[in-house]
């Protein structure tokens, strides 16, 4: 009897669900044009171009949504700080004026290294207003990934916190001669002043709260996101202001944003999802975003979903699998009836997780696919489309996807038969497509062939047009939703005096999809031991941070190399997993 009453109460409280923005997939695809999508944005007043910050904030602050909450921050202790569109417009104007006062202008690079704190979001919008280029680094990076990205990105300004500055930046600052200004957010546990830095609050409050965005060419660089490749340094993917057209419309079609939504993107802005869909898309759509400063924790997450009345939730498979481990009871003890749409990205969502979420929340997670280079969601499961658990869904309206095979002469051919594996490729021309790899035009050119952008992901398409992820076509590791370049990890290990050579691969993991595992051979005079293994793991973690460092390590007499001297990670992986070793014709003899 009691359960019936409770059920009725929940039913009563259940809000009326709006119809999905994308009600009929085929019809929407046929009718869609990017020009029409562009008309959903305002453009700068007087036809002065397009600026992401104007679309995100200023246009709402000047209209009926001015007092709507744009960002609701839940700080680590659980306190809540809200910022309306009008307040965000003002604070970001101060930030833009602050940059101007430092002589930082259009096209110059502003970096942040911070957790999910208000200053990061002000910096993002303020930087875009000033027509500078915004980059955010994941705060769990160690000093080496920070240094290599800031060097490559020619950072002129860094916004960070006192503790992150002390732990990760102070020691490398001499290596960054182009870094002129470091603006530090004070924390209660740190001394009030950090030498050689500017105090964020003091600096911001000294600025005017009014700032008129200068005319902005839609093709001007706006965002710089780093990602990892198989070889060499990280790649800096450059995105332009025009990308907002894709951020906005994909928020509407793939995440089903409606004006009254309370939306929670759990991704950190240090990764592209946390910027495209943690900052830009919800703001352009005028919805309220929840930003939780704390790291994943099952009970906290369920409490936030309930207390904050979250309606749209965008998270990652690793987190979903952690929630599954904790069991459905905690979810069922909460009133989550306001949740309307659940989406997932980062690595393919396993079918069990889709089925589990449907049983636990009464609605399934909708997986989608995109990359740093694509800037926004390109393939998705939609509110109105039947989900095939394990599939990434179908291409967005305006996106032409295909499965191709490389022909060896630099060309590709499209595979039209269904269910054949090949490389997932996209026809260029969508607004959030990256426009360059910073300082590396050759690598950029190599990403395209025969009129396709080549994603590096292996996939197949079934006969009904659903796409299925198969694996990476290269040695890049996918762990906990992040791409990790093996070369960066190997280079850090090679700095240790005991290490002769290092090869790094991803090994399967039930929670994180893959874990980073290192194989190491030692220099003469060093003996393998569990102490040395732990020392090497600690050594790498100190330099790389927990998001990138290996979690497992094995010693080997020698690592398999090609005759040209490259470590054959593919073979390390096959041996580790007991898979067929494949073509060994390039293997150096004796390895």
């Amino acid at each position: 009897m009691l359960s019936t009453v409770r059920h009725q109460q929940i039913e009563k409280a259940r809000p009326i669900r709006p119809a999905p923005n994308l009600a009929n997939y085929e019809r929407a695809r046929n009718a869609f044009t990017w020009a029409e999508a562009r008309r959903e944005l305002d453009g700068l007043p007087g036809g002065a171009g397009l600026n992401i910050a104007h679309e995100c904030v200023d246009r709402h602050a000047a209209g009926p949504a001015r007092d709507r909450v744009a960002l609701r921050f839940v700080r680590k202790p659980g306190t809540v700080e809200e910022m309306t569109f009008a307040q965000l417009a003002e604070a970001s104007a101060r930030f833009a004026n602050g940059l101007r006062s430092l002589g930082v202008g259009a096209g110059e690079h502003v970096f942040t290294l911070a957790g999910r704190i208000p200053a990061l979001y002000l910096a993002a919008i303020g930087t875009l207003k000033a027509r500078s280029v915004f980059t955010t680094l994941f705060s769990a990076f160690g000093p080496e990934p920070i240094q290599s990205r800031m060097k490559l990105g020619r950072a002129r300004v860094l916004v960070t916190t006192a503790s992150l500055y002390r732990k990760k930046v102070a020691g490398i600052r001499d290596e960054l001669p182009e870094l002129e200004h470091v603006i530090v957010v004070a924390e209660h546990r740190e001394p009030a002043r950090t030498p050689g830095t500017i105090d964020f609050d003091e600096w911001l409050s000294a600025q005017s709260p009014e700032f008129a965005i200068a005319p902005t060419d839609p093709e001007e660089p706006a965002l710089l996101h780093f990602t990892s490749g198989t070889t060499g340094k990280p790649k800096g993917a450059v995105h332009v202001h025009e990308a907002a057209v894709a951020h906005h419309i994909t928020g509407k079609l793939a995440l089903d944003f409606h004006a009254d939504d309370i939306y929670w993107c759990t991704a950190d802005p240090g990764w592209v999802t946390g910027t495209s869909y943690g900052i830009i898309a919800p703001l352009t759509n005028g919805v309220t975003s929840l930003v939780d400063e704390a790291e994943f924790e099952t009970s906290r997450w369920y409490r936030l979903l309930e207390e904050q009345n979250v309606t749209v939730w965008y998270t990652a498979p690793t987190a979903i699998r952690m929630l599954m481990r904790a069991g459905a009871e905690q979810a069922k003890a909460r009133d989550l009836s306001r949740l309307r749409f659940l989406a997932s990205v980062g690595e393919p969502l396993n079918p069990e997780a889709v089925v589990w979420s449907a049983a636990t929340f009464g609605r399934p997670f909708h997986d989608n696919w995109w990359q740093t280079e694509t800037g926004g969601i390109l393939i998705a499961n939609y509110a109105s489309l039947d989900i095939r658990p394990g599939s990434m869904g179908k291409p967005l309206p305006g996106i032409e996807a295909g499965i191709v095979r490389r022909t060896g002469d630099g060309g590709v051919e499209e595979i039209l038969e269904p269910d054949v594996e090949g490389e997932l490729a996209i026809r260029p021309g969508w607004p959030s497509m990256f426009r360059a790899y910073l300082g590396d035009p050759d690598r950029y050119q190599e990403s395209f062939a025969a009129g396709w952008y080549l994603s590096g992901d292996i996939a197949r398409r079934d006969r009904d047009g659903y796409y299925w992820f198969v694996g990476r076509g290269d040695d890049v590791i996918k762990s906990a939703g992040h791409l990790i370049g093996p070369f960066e990890v190997e280079s850090a290990l090679m700095e240790h005096p005991a290490v002769a050579e290092a090869g790094v691969i991803g090994v399967p993991d039930p929670v994180a999809m893959e874990l980073v595992k290192a194989f190491v051979s030692l220099k003469p005079g060093f003996e393998s031991s569990s102490e040395l293994s732990r020392e090497l793991l600690g050594f790498a973690r100190k330099r790389l941070g927990p998001a990138v460092a290996p979690r497992e390590l094995a010693f080997a007499e020698a690592l398999p190399r090609t005759r040209s001297g490259k470590i054959m990670r593919r073979l390390l992986r096959a041996r580790e997993l007991g898979l067929p070793e494949g073509d060994l014709s390039t293997l150096e003899s004796g390895a």
């Binding site: 790291e295 924790e297 099952t298 009970s299 929670v511 100190k542």
Partner: protein, 83 residues
């Protein structure tokens, strides 16, 4: 049936598990009241590994909903002793 143990034994065991699950962790001199995630730069996978090892090696059952109880040395020790 849990093994008898003193607070010192439990503290030593927690430190040992931390050193193994968070390679390079400087456990000596940690403020017993400070959040381990902040002090040792632990992410959610580290927390999962730490809690799993703790539960195996100290023979205490730690449901996911209690992970936040483990996040300072002082509270973690008290949690284990209370089991």
């Amino acid at each position: 049936m849990t093994v008898a143990r003193t607070p010192d034994e439990v503290r030593a065991k927690i430190a040992d598990i931390l050193r193994r699950t968070v390679p390079g962790a400087q456990v000596e001199g940690l403020d017993p009241k400070a959040d381990l995630r902040d002090e040792l730069d632990m992410d959610s996978l580290d927390v999962l590994n730490f809690a799993t090892a703790l539960s195996h090696e100290l023979e205490v059952s730690v449901p996911e909903s209690d992970y936040s109880e483990l996040m300072t040395l002082e509270r973690c020790t008290a949690y284990v002793l209370s089991k």
